[in-house]
């Protein structure tokens, strides 16, 4: 199996990739000794070829969209077009200092302005701020705007944020960060929100409800208009978590469903890279009543060009969320992707994502797997429950996940949402071929057969990955978070 030493273990004193730093050490005689470091920082001492080889080899230990089918539910692991990266990394975009005058950055500002306009169209909203740096920051901005709106009306008691029990963990965590309290409501047996439970919790303390639609259960919330009526009638607002926008792009609009604010994960629906866990971009779009509160900066259009709008232009803003203006380079990648697709391409995204999910769902059902919501139409993703197989054979969703790795597939999302026992949340995306989906059905069926025949063998998976199953308990009990191969400092 492939292994790779730590870069520190390849280090030898005095070795350097010398073309990247000044040839000599400049004089620092004016700096008092008390402010200087006594020993150099413990960075590795390696050649450029060693660096290139090391990180190339490390990359080869990863599964990725470019190498494997990656049906990770709720994450929308679709193909990331190379051209988005190539164009966002043109020197004319990379060389831009964030504090340069607006008139030096017109090419950037014009692109971002058009991105704002396209995102308004895709959501039906009237205002957009691109600055949130990830979905969770978009959530924060959304709830902070809702709080600010209530406060602007002298409505100071609204501190409760309602979230369905199927919601992503960021939703309740966001409520806490905004100084609110998360109130969980149950989901009905068909996957829709329990409206009676909702009616019972709304009231004068309700700030907002946070919903994903389609929900994390992979079904469209059919009574969304009723939910909107209930929450609005109680004086609260509706927050749309855009995690699953890929399912409805160009089919229905969050604004039409009654939402007041939306965040969109550009790294999902608009195919910017996941990058091994970031950077994301979690833009927010709002209707007219929340527009004054949008986080800054925002791109404005004036005679003579585009400008950054800041505190002076937006006095009611909730403020800034980053040092400068968020993840601009990611925004440019999304812009390129959206221009490639255009309006008709966007509608095709949701169409084919839904086609692939329903096809895979029907085929897995036919192969004997238990679909969590069999009477519902799948959205762009769906859940299978392995509860019966687990009961009969002892094989868990985790075992299936690991066995998929041996068969060349990244695992679906496991154990989320928490409502469905032994679940796999499967999102194929629109960019996979029918042949790939068929192969996935075949692999899952083989694994199920193996579970019945020899569960012990199944539990030995994965066997072809660079490491076998890892000891998570040891990792947490005997924390080893940094390399200690040699003392960090010598005093």
């Amino acid at each position: 199996m492939k292994r790779e030493e730590l870069i520190f273990e390849q280090s030898r004193p005095g070795r350097r990739a010398s073309t990247h730093a000044p040839a000599t050490l400049a004089a620092i005689d004016d700096l008092p000794a008390a402010v200087l470091r006594e020993t150099p920082p413990p960075l590795p001492e390696v050649s450029e070829l060693q660096v290139v080889r090391h990180f190339t080899r490390l990359s080869q230990l990863n599964f990725s969209i470019d190498t494997h089918f990656y049906p990770l539910g709720s994450c929308t692991m679709k193909y990331n077009p190379r051209v988005s990266n190539t164009l966002a990394m043109l020197p004319g975009f990379l060389a831009r200092h964030p504090l340069e005058p607006d008139n030096h950055a017109q090419g950037v500002l014009e692109s971002l302005y058009e991105l704002q306009e396209m995102l308004k169209a895709a959501t039906g909203m009237s205002g957009v701020s691109l600055t949130p740096m990830a979905g969770a920051q978009g959530e924060f901005a959304g709830i902070a705007m809702i709080r600010a709106w209530h406060l602007s009306r002298g409505d100071t008691q609204r501190t409760q944020v309602i979230v369905p029990d199927a919601a992503h963990g960021t939703n309740p965590a966001t409520a806490t960060m905004c100084g609110c309290e998360a109130i969980e409501i149950p989901t009905g047996p068909d996957g829709d929100v329990d409206l009676d439970a909702l009616r019972q919790v709304v009231g004068p303390k309700t700030a907002a409800i946070m919903l994903t639609n389609p929900s994390t259960l992979g079904v469209f919330e059919r009574r969304i208009s009723e939910i909107a009526e209930i929450v609005h009638a109680a004086g609260g607002l509706l927050y749309y978590d855009g995690a699953n926008l890929n399912a409805i792009l160009g089919r229905t609009l969050p604004a039409g469903m009654g939402f007041d604010v939306v965040h969109i994960n550009l790294h999902k629906t608009f195919s910017t890279p996941h990058g091994g866990g970031g950077p994301g971009a979690g833009i927010v779009a709002v209707n007219a009543r929340l527009e004054p509160f949008l986080p800054i900066p925002i791109v404005g259009k004036r005679e003579g060009g585009h400008v950054w709008l800041t505190e002076a232009d937006r006095p009611q803003t909730i403020g800034r969320l980053s040092g400068f203006m968020g993840n601009t380079g990611i925004l440019l990648r999304a812009y390129v992707y959206m221009r490639l697709l255009g309006a008709e391409g966007m509608r095709r995204v949701s169409g084919y994502a839904t086609l692939n999910a329903n096809y895979l769902c029907v085929r897995l059902a036919a192969a004997g797997f238990t679909i969590a919501y069999p009477r519902r139409r799948a959205s762009h993703e769906f859940i299978i429950s392995l509860k019966d197989i687990a009961r009969d054979t002892g094989a868990t969703a985790m075992d299936f996940a690991k066995a998929l790795l041996d068969r060349g597939f990244h695992a679906p999302t496991t154990y989320f949402p928490l409502l469905v026992p032994e679940c796999l949340l499967i999102e194929p995306t629109e960019t996979e071929t029918r042949q790939e989906l068929d192969a996935f059905v075949q692999a899952l069926s083989e694994i199920r057969d193996l579970a019945i025949r020899d569960v012990g063998e199944l539990k030995r998976a994965p066997q072809t990955t660079p490491v076998r199953r890892l000891d998570d308990v040891r990792a947490a009990r005997q924390l080893d978070l940094t390399w200690q191969g040699k003392p960090r400092t010598v005093n």
Partner: protein, 130 residues
Amino acid sequence: MTQVPQNLKYTEDHEWVRTEADGSVIIGVTDHAQHQLGELVYVELPDAGRKVARGDAMAVVESTKAASDVYAPLAGVVVEANPALASQPELVNNDPYGEGWLLRLRPDSATDLAALKDSTAYTQLLAAGD
């Protein structure tokens, strides 16, 4: 089979309480709770001297996959926390009613104890949950 010793009191949140000769109480989590949590990797305990009201989240037990609050079964003042758990959280898994105790509390009122479940009632609670 989950152990439910007869000489202890229990809560619906799967904690046990044992009264000591000096009137203080020892608190821990039940065998059922440690099974549900899985192998513990960390236990966060309150400092001695902290006042807690009944139902306050006063400790956290953490496995690799879950973190659960431990709620105060009684109002009182924390007398001591089990010092062994800092380096050996697995004691809670291995011996939940013994070496894996969490903390000692001085209750504000002895009458609060009477409101807790006895082993029969707790066993019924577990049976109802299955």
